[in-house]
Amino acid sequence: MASLPKRIIKETERLVSDPVPGITAIPHEENLRYFQVTVEGPEQSPYENGVFNLELFLPDDYPMEAPKVRFLTKIYHPNIDRLGRICLDVLKNNWSPALQIRTVLLSVQALLASPNPNDPLANDVAEEWLQNEDNAIAKAREWTNMYASKQ
């Protein structure tokens, strides 16, 4: 395996020694570019009390290229599709090499706190969100209990 850039080693160390509240990221034993991630649903959001599993992969060009992040836990959210793909600017056009794994995961957590149905990835969810927000929020809460409840 090619050697791991110093930056990735430093980031990994800091994720362990100084973790972000409500977020864990653990590198895979055999591939230190692949992380198993958990993100807690923000308080006062429909995802509250939920713990969501994600996977994060650092491509060869990282940090010139954004990490690839995907939800593994099913989630009802207008900017996350059924394959777990996330519509988030910092993962696409707004990536900058000064961002890090921790800042990206904080942005993902912030996206849970403020869904944006006007820039949808999951069209059916976004439509429901715009037409009947109360219903959509109830459904998001239901899915959180069903698929993301703490063990």
């Binding site: 930056r7 980031e11 940090p63 900058s96 090499p97």
Partner: protein, 155 residues
Amino acid sequence: MSTYEEEHNTNRAGAGQDARRDLRSQIHDMYQENGTSNLLLQLLSQIIPESLQEELLQDQKEGCPEHFVDSLPRVNQSKLSDEESCSICCCNYKEDKYPLVVELPHCSHRFDLECVAVWLSKSTSCPLCRDDVLSHKPKIDVSTVEVEDDWGMYG
């Protein structure tokens, strides 16, 4: 007995294929006639899915010209603090015996030249504040320049 085509209603699919063939020959004709016309691009964009088009556009995104990166002002080692590190590689500048650090115009954010050169080859924004580094005209400081008629050659 009904034919396979009737049972499986493949006529429709056949019609779809014809339409695609039409589109292809249309494009072929146009390409022969006038290279790239707007109409041709329009037809092409019908075939290429939107998500892919976005990716293609992103790949084309141009960075800064090489001479711009080469001309970035270097930061003298004596002006670097012991704690200062490059936000791209996360390494302390002074870990390197001869650090090559540059400063971006206007926002003055500092990076290892080696690190920021890679980023600026495909982007024009400062990694730290997203300032468009090409949007500022370089200012030439003339206040301290002494005009010497003989260029100091005979002094």
